[in-house]
Point group: C2
Chain length 424, copies 2
């Protein structure tokens, strides 16, 4: 019967069997210490002679759990039997047991199969797992159904640019940029409230710490709403749920990155400013006229929100029409009923009310230079009755990045794909 | 304040506002009845004169909830005010308010944007949403972390056949057939127990009711196990959880398909037979020598399991080596430690113990005609210590299909992709 490292404090004086990875070896001559790592944490093993193992080997030991004030957790295991389940070669390409701070992002990603074993790096993905849980559980608690839609489409939803082509038997299809079409069909199906967690693709040549070409999109769509304010209300509740889960489940992981999650109760204070107001705030804060909200402007806005509302996030709504997809519900003065959420200086969400009237949608498609004939499947949703609705998408990796304060979104992606990287 | 159809019984005698789709209109001259559909069910609306609406239009009504024994649920709404939120054209391409039994699969899929509104068809995807919930919740209850890995890879895991190519900037990558590589890296990362829900692709030219070219794979991988029996134990618990959730949440949906979910407690009785035993059983049951387990043989085996164990499912283990991928742990006599789960006559799971020893894996790759140099990233997982482990993948659409007794897996796929179908 295996004992996990975290269970040791309850086992003092008893025979135990532990399994895990050799994290560190310290040979003091008369005695050797081995730090064993398992999914629950780590344990100190004491050997009366130097064990014949290498760092990262997977071992199983039997011994006695003994109290020792100096051992982590106050307990160590005096090993009586050692079995090497899988021996690690000595030319480890990545220093698993050192703080990753000194290692370049390139080296971390080139050696991803091994670098992910580093406890600090691995903690990123424990947090990501909690975000996924918090999101899905929240959506279900509000009666949303989970959908799974195709990632292969005949043509682009938002125009044909930025798509990766797939050779599909005798034809050619594209990887979806978002499940937009499908989630609209599914709110109109009668489900009314849907969410989807799935990959999305952007064939953009960006090479920045905020872009990846494949990301996980946490998509939400809701029918019978009257304004985009209800969507911001919903996202506020989702964020509070995610922050609550991460706070409860990932204390040690947050510590590894000296990160803290916003107070879930502070989410209701996230300011909601129009795009025009946002430009004014940025102009005032920086002393320089802001014509657009640049990445720097996004940081300025979040700093302003922290100062004035006590939370490092801001909703920006009322974006200009030309900056939003054709299905965005228009507002007066060439504005839209779309919004973004900026969190800790980065856009992590885009969303808004969608057009649900067939004629208006056809007109808008034309204005955007799209051929309605190519949108026939999509337009049928609206031709046969579609409720007022809207939705948004949260970028999983960006949210993970910003919760932990990581320098690049690629750090928050298990196997990131960018213009140059398609492995491992 | 909106009232849902399902809430009407508690509202008799009060003013209510309902929103939804016009499911059916019955005009009796002096009075008209409209069945309104919303996410909770349906409600009978009574109009004192014929309302100017079309089927599938989205409406909002205000009126009084009134008891009427003859109305569904014992309550109807006498409408005082009608607002058409989105009018449906009259040339509806699919009969939303009729039983789909009479409609061809081609017509259902060609008109998917609209056919999914049919209550029976939509119920398939309510069940699927519950399966997703039951699976994820179960995995988390056993300490599994959820991972999200790339669907774009440089080369195939299981050899280079059956892959769709993607034009990726100046190079060419492939859509993954499974997250196999990555889930193995992640159990070896120290997470030990991982699951992933994501799309998987098979560029196979099959055109059968059991094949689609894009499907959702419910992937599981677990470290520190000693045999494939533990994997079958785990899958047994997962199935019991999924069946429990579907039974509790989807009573009406199951009814729509006259389907029943196996007793969750019966899952532990699922027989486990070796491939050789399976062939003997099929031979005996059919009176014809079975050399392979064909799709017909799979049905025979499940019938046999129903007869002998009271559940329409069987685990088959000990498959021959040549029929399994190179990373499968070998057993004596050219067998493997792999298994399948057959459920109601269809393979819904493949899995098994994996090789965790570097040398054995390199040898096996060569035996399978693979070049170890092309597997360098993958092999590094094993070169630097990998615990004994195994896992499996459940096909979401096949499981949905078999729970509901649908004729084709495509019915259980929102937007199926097959050799000829890439839309909508």
């Amino acid at each position: 019967m295996r004992t996990l490292a975290s269970e040791l404090p309850g086992k003092v004086g008893t025979a135990v069997s532990l399994s895990g990875w050799v994290h560190r070896i310290r040979d003091l001559g008369k005695v050797s210490f081995v730090v064993l790592r398992d999914r629950s944490g780590s344990a100190q093993l004491v050997f009366s002679e130097k064990p014949d193992v290498t760092v990262e080997s997977v071992i199983r030991v039997e011994g006695t759990a003994s109290a020792n004030e100096k051992a982590p957790g106050g307990v160590e295991v005096r090993v009586e039997k050692l079995e090497v389940l899988s021996a690690a070669a000595v030319d480890l390409p990545f220093p698993v047991n050192q703080e990753p701070g000194k290692t370049s992002l390139e080296s971390i990603l080139d050696n991803r199969m091994i670098s992910v074993r580093n406890p600090s790096i691995l903690s990123i993905f424990r947090v990501q797992s909690s975000i996924l849980r918090g999101f899905a559980e929240h959506m279900r608690s509000e009666g949303f159904s989970e959908i799974k839609t195709s990632k292969l489409i005949g043509t682009g939803t938002e125009g044909g640019t930025g798509l990766f082509a797939v050779e599909y038997f005798d034809t050619r299809v594209y990887l979806t940029q978002s499940p937009q079409l499908y989630k609209q069909a599914m709110i109109a199906s009668g489900l009314e409230r849907v969410f989807e967690i799935g990959p999305a693709y952007r064939a953009e040549k960006h090479d920045t710490p905020r872009h990846i070409n494949e990301f996980v999109s946490l998509d939400v769509e809701m029918a019978f709403i009257e304004s985009e304010q209800e969507l911001m209300d919903l996202e506020t509740r989702i964020l509070a749920s995610i922050f609550t889960v991460v706070r409860e489940a990932n204390g040690k992981d947050l510590e590894a990155w000296k990160a803290s999650v916003p107070d879930p109760e502070a989410c209701v204070r996230i300011p909601r400013v129009s795009h025009d107001e946002a430009r004014e705030i940025v102009s005032k804060e920086t002393g320089r006229k802001a014509f657009e909200i640049t990445p720097e402007g996004e940081r300025t806005l979040c700093d302003w929100a922290q100062k004035t509302a006590g939370i490092d996030a801001a909703f920006v709504h009322g974006y200009p029409r030309k900056s939003r997809p054709f299905y965005t519900f228009p507002a007066d003065n060439n504005k839209t009923r779309a919004f973004d959420l900026l969190f800790r200086g980065l856009e992590v969400t885009s969303g808004g009310m969608r057009i649900n009237q067939y004629d208006m949608l056809v007109e808008n498609a034309k204005t955007f230079g799209l051929d309605p004939a190519g949108l026939a499947d999509y337009l049928s949703i609206f031709r046969y009755g579609c409720p007022p609705h809207g939705g948004f998408a949260i970028g999983l990796e960006r949210l993970t990045q910003k919760i932990l304060g990581l320098g690049s979104v690629k750090e928050a992606t298990l196997f990131p794909r960018d213009r140059k990287r398609v492995r491992p």
